[in-house]
Amino acid sequence: STVVLVFEAPVEQGSDAGETKGGWRWNVEKGQRVKMGQALGYV
């Protein structure tokens, strides 16, 4: 069985100073085993 998540999230935005803020960042890698409740990513 498989679960597919499709979701909208903010895109990481850069500023003139080279800083980025507020975007979606993944916290996993391909092939990684995950447990329920583990973070897939953060906004």
Partner: protein
């Protein structure tokens, strides 16, 4: 003519082999061309390639011979038979060694199973759908995290560009094929900036400004906790002895607790639905559950499920091997598409069935029946009715969740809340 026939000498001789091969090749080319032409004519009549005249999708996958051979098997019937077989009770004294063997083969951690006495599981189906001990799966404390809904392996993830989702090894399929057409909402599909939930807000603006008003929409005393748990209006659940003020669902303390839990802070309740950022994109993640994994799934975030689409497709295996070899596998298999919103905009959750795990259960949707003859028959009937009306069959049956949560426009789920699961067969 008679004399010519009678007196002419007949002489037989061999043709050069090249002429023979050429003739056979020509005949084969003629046959293939004719077949392709007939197929194109049929597609023109039915409106799309690979469809039956009534519009119901016919599974005709391309791929190596293993995939083609698999496509000839009655996979759904086999899946149902497998489910029935696994519901047979195992003899009492064979349960412990049997489940331990299964756990050894598929890597089940028996220490975290909620019911440690394996003899209480009457059959493999019950063991497969086991619960875990409380606290065995702690939720990530960051309120801005998207949680993994289940145990499993990350097969693929990324950003959706051009409406395509990449499958393993570069295979792609469109988001419309996976979720159904007209999804997600235009604000996302067209890449517009802003808040996709403006429709919701404009409908309710002027009505709801505070939590108290939130709790009294349209004269019905809904409360924030009951909405978020998908409960009934508080008026219909009152007991004979009123609870203490602090325990009431709509008490300031209870509302503050829920607001803190949802990380709402001082924001209005519809911040749950409306993204604050100016620019958003669609992302996806594919998680594969192996046979030994915990097969219940939980809500990955605080979100509101607005509707459900049930695609009564096929039930191919979803093993990584088949995902590599069968393009668009997820758009062929039976699946339940839950569509809704979270605080950043569109959100969807798609459990996809497989041959051995064909039954998808959604806890808050008792009408949903997956991998059943009834749904197949209903899908056929719906396709025929659509064809009779001259309309295309969309390939799914849709239901909306709007009963309890009139404000949020669907069934509200909290992060980590159990949503349902996969069952054998």
């Amino acid at each position: 003519l008679r004399a010519a026939l009678r007196d002419s000498k007949t002489q037989w001789y061999q043709l050069p082999i090249g002429v023979g091969i050429g003739f056979v090749g020509l005949m084969q080319f003629y046959k293939v061309t004719t077949r392709e032409k007939e197929k194109e004519e049929l597609d023109e009549v039915t409106g799309a390639a690979g469809r039956k005249p009534n519009g119901r999708e016919r599974i005709r996958p391309d791929g190596p011979w293993q995939v083609r051979a698999m496509s000839t098997l009655p996979l759904k019937a086999m899946s149902r038979l497998w489910g029935r077989f696994n519901e047979l009770d195992i003899p009492y004294y064979l349960r412990v060694p049997g489940f331990k063997l299964y756990s050894f083969i598929f890597g089940v951690n028996l220490d975290e199973v909620a019911e440690p006495d394996l003899r209480t599981y009457p059959n493999l189906a019950a063991f497969f759908y086991r619960k875990l001990k409380p606290g065995a799966r702690p939720l990530d404390p960051n309120p801005n995290a998207l949680l993994s809904p289940s145990d499993g392996r990350i097969l693929q993830f990324g950003q959706i560009e051009g409406g395509d989702i990449e499958q393993v090894k570069g295979m792609t399929y469109s988001i419309d094929a996976l979720l159904g057409k007209h999804t997600p909402t235009p604000s996302v599909a067209h890449g517009e900036h802003g808040r996709p939930s403006e429709r919701h807000i404009s409908e309710n603006e002027g009505l709801i400004k505070t939590d108290e008003e939130f709790a009294r929409v349209n004269g019905i005393s809904y409360t924030l906790p009951s909405l978020l748990s998908g409960g009934r209006p508080s008026g219909s659940t009152q007991t004979e002895s009123p609870p203490d003020e602090a325990e009431r669902e709509d008490s300031p303390a209870a509302i503050s607790a829920v607001r803190a839990d949802l990380a709402l802070g001082e924001k209005p309740w519809y911040a749950l639905l409306a993204p604050e950022e100016n620019r958003t994109a669609l992302y996806y993640a594919v998680i594969y559950l192996a046979p030994g994994d915990y097969h219940r799934f939980h809500s990955p975030a605080n979100w509101v499920v607005e509707r459900r689409r049930h695609f009564a497709g096929e039930l191919y295996s979803v093993s990584p091997y088949l995902q590599r070899t069968l393009p668009g596998l997820f758009t062929l298999n039976e699946r339940v598409v839950l569509l809704g919103r979270w605080r950043w905009g569109f959100f969807s959750y798609v459990p996809v069935g497989a041959t051995n795990v064909g039954s998808i259960k959604i806890n808050f949707d008792r009408e949903l029946r997956t991998n059943s003859l009834t749904t197949d028959t209903e899908a056929d009937r719906a396709a025929e009715e659509a064809a009779a009306r001259g309309e295309p069959y969309l390939g799914f049956a849709e239901a909306t969740y709007a009963s309890a949560s009139r404000v949020l426009g669907g069934h509200a789920l909290r992060r980590g809340e159990e949503m349902g699961g996969f069952q054998l067969g």
